[in-house]
Symmetry: C2
Subunit: 316 residues, 2 copies
DNA sequence: GGTGATGTTGCTCGTGTGAGCATTTGCGCA
DNA sequence: TGCGCAAATGCTCACACGAGCAACATCACC
């Protein structure tokens, strides 16, 4: 009997959702009472036969957001739908848009916003509307001025975000990673750098992205690391980087020596921050997203549906 | 204003469809009146942002079926949903199932059912339930007894369909295509063959599939044609075959000489039949499906969603 | 075969929602 | 500035629908 009922529920669902018939009409067609039809439809829904998707670049997955808030220590989660998305680029664009939206609606409005840099953050800056806030000062929290032709992207990101909020941008005039520890100590000791780091460590909110640990990493692209060095980090357990610092799946620094040569705020500053917004999207960033959320590096996660499910452990 | 409205309609849709909130509740959250929310939802639906799919192996696409009935001369159309289908095999299986269902529900129950043979038809025979009808006699309408190890599939199909309907199967003891015209004439003249052909030409209903014109054709597979011969047929405009006869996109015989050596009922028998059910599924059969429907070779089409859209000319 | 437990069916009632209409708002144009 | 038109808004009404309940069928078990 259950088998016939299942088939009937499908026939009913077709008439209900595709043909917009009333349950009563469906009852007439299928020779059922109107209540039976209602129950069949409820059954079809409960069995997951009815899939309702909101196909729109700005659609979100509220149910996943709720699950994230409930099963992690995140105070907030923004999950963009991946319905109808083919490319990773589109996914990143959607996520960046969502991050811009979130930032715009953030209350209280941060006085100082600490930001990292990268493709994702840059896209966020472009998606922000002019006047998204009034008087937010932006400060870079990790090094990374131009080593290559990508010149100025990091700076442009900070300046754009600040400019669109009628605020000022404070840049961190330092490479991301230095070759020698004492050089790093020296540059950190420099007043112009130290002041920025102090400012960054005391920001009222943070906005940062994450990099995956592979040859496509932004740090490799920018010339701070070689593909081989990253491969070695992966061998040591690295899943990706946050503000230039490589972490393993437990959120721990993978290579203390390398980390010592990395310029930027400490991860602890993020861990203790009241508002730390991580923007992470794309299939290659599932592991790092998991590590970031799992180890409490952010209070807010802005991501795509698939990454969110990976964080929740729903994928296999 | 339209832009904000679009965004609002998405937010409303999320709350309505994902969170099962009432329009009134949504109004409270978004600071809108309950009527505005209703209008936003209607707008979201009208704009196609809300996609409702019935994910089930036996789900059909009634709207496409209706369009087919309206814009072609088909008396009936069965279109199975391709939602959640990954492989062509699954699509064919779903379509075969639907064909079996249709045949079971066919009224008046045919006294004699003319059938072709092939992978698809064989699958239909397997999907038919025992006792799907009572006393239907099955007759093969085109030649094709075993030339290779696939031995007996054609016969098995006919016998299975007949057996499950407590009827008898009449096999056509002839190859599909003969090498010489006079051999074909001779075999046709043989009483045992002629009787079957006469019976087949007078069947009360037909059930047949179609083959695509490429190297994967069943006729190539069975050894009746070489891949080169098929390629030559394609050059002449062939899009596929029906009951062993290759036709072009207009439904005309492509190669009269070859057709003269093909044993089976004439296409005209199908064109004039009261009930001619074509079962055609899979991405490679779009053209042949189009040709069959366009040239009136069937009165009923059982197919998959994508093929149906191709027949309607919705693809590009 | 009787009896209780469980699931199914038919129904009442209240609520959510869409159609249709009155009213207001916004906007172009004189 | 004022007028007229169109679009958006607020509302009434009717109705489709789900929750909850009573009656009934079904089945296991004594």
């Amino acid at each position: 009997m259950t088998d016939t009922d299942e088939l009937l529920s499908i026939r009913a669902a077709e008439l209900y959702y595709e043909e917009n018939k009333t349950q009563d009409e469906i009852g007439t067609v299928l020779r059922l009472t109107r209540w039976k039809v209602g129950r069949l439809l409820a059954q079809a829904k409960a069995s997951g036969f009815i899939r309702i998707e909101i196909v729109h670049p700005r659609a979100r997955r509220l149910s996943i957001e709720r699950r994230l808030r409930e099963s992690t220590q995140l105070t907030d989660a923004i999950v963009v739908s991946s319905a109808g998305v083919s490319s990773d680029e589109e996914l990143q664009s959607r996520t960046a848009q969502a991050a811009a939206d979130y930032l715009t609606g953030l209350r209280p409005v941060p006085r100082t916003l600490g930001i990292s840099w990268g493709r994702t953050l840059h896209e966020v800056s472009l998606h922000l509307a002019k006047g998204w806030a009034n008087g937010v000062n932006v400060v870079q929290i990790n090094g990374g001025v131009s080593l290559n032709r990508r010149a100025g992207t990091a700076a442009a990101t900070a300046v754009t975000i600040a400019h669109k909020a009628s605020g000022a941008a404070t840049l961190l005039p330092s490479p991301a990673i230095l070759e020698r520890l004492d050089t790093k100590r020296a540059i950190e000791a420099d007043r112009s750098v130290a002041a920025v780091l102090t400012l960054g460590a005391a920001a009222s909110a943070y906005l940062f992205s994450a990099g995956q640990a592979d040859r496509n990493s932004a740090l490799v692209d920018s010339g701070y690391l070689t593909a081989e060095q990253v491969a070695e980090l992966v061998r040591k357990g690295a899943v990706g980087d946050i503000v230039g610092r490589y972490i393993d799946s437990a959120g721990n620094i993978v290579d203390p020596e390398l980390d010592g040569r990395t310029v930027g705020i400490q991860l602890e500053a993020l861990r203790h921050a009241k508002t730390a917004i991580a923007v992470i999207a794309g299939g290659s960033k599932h592991s790092i997203a998991r590590a970031v959320v799992g180890s409490g590096l952010c209070t807010v996660l802005v991501t795509d549906e698939d990454t969110a499910l990976a964080v929740l452990g729903d994928d296999i």
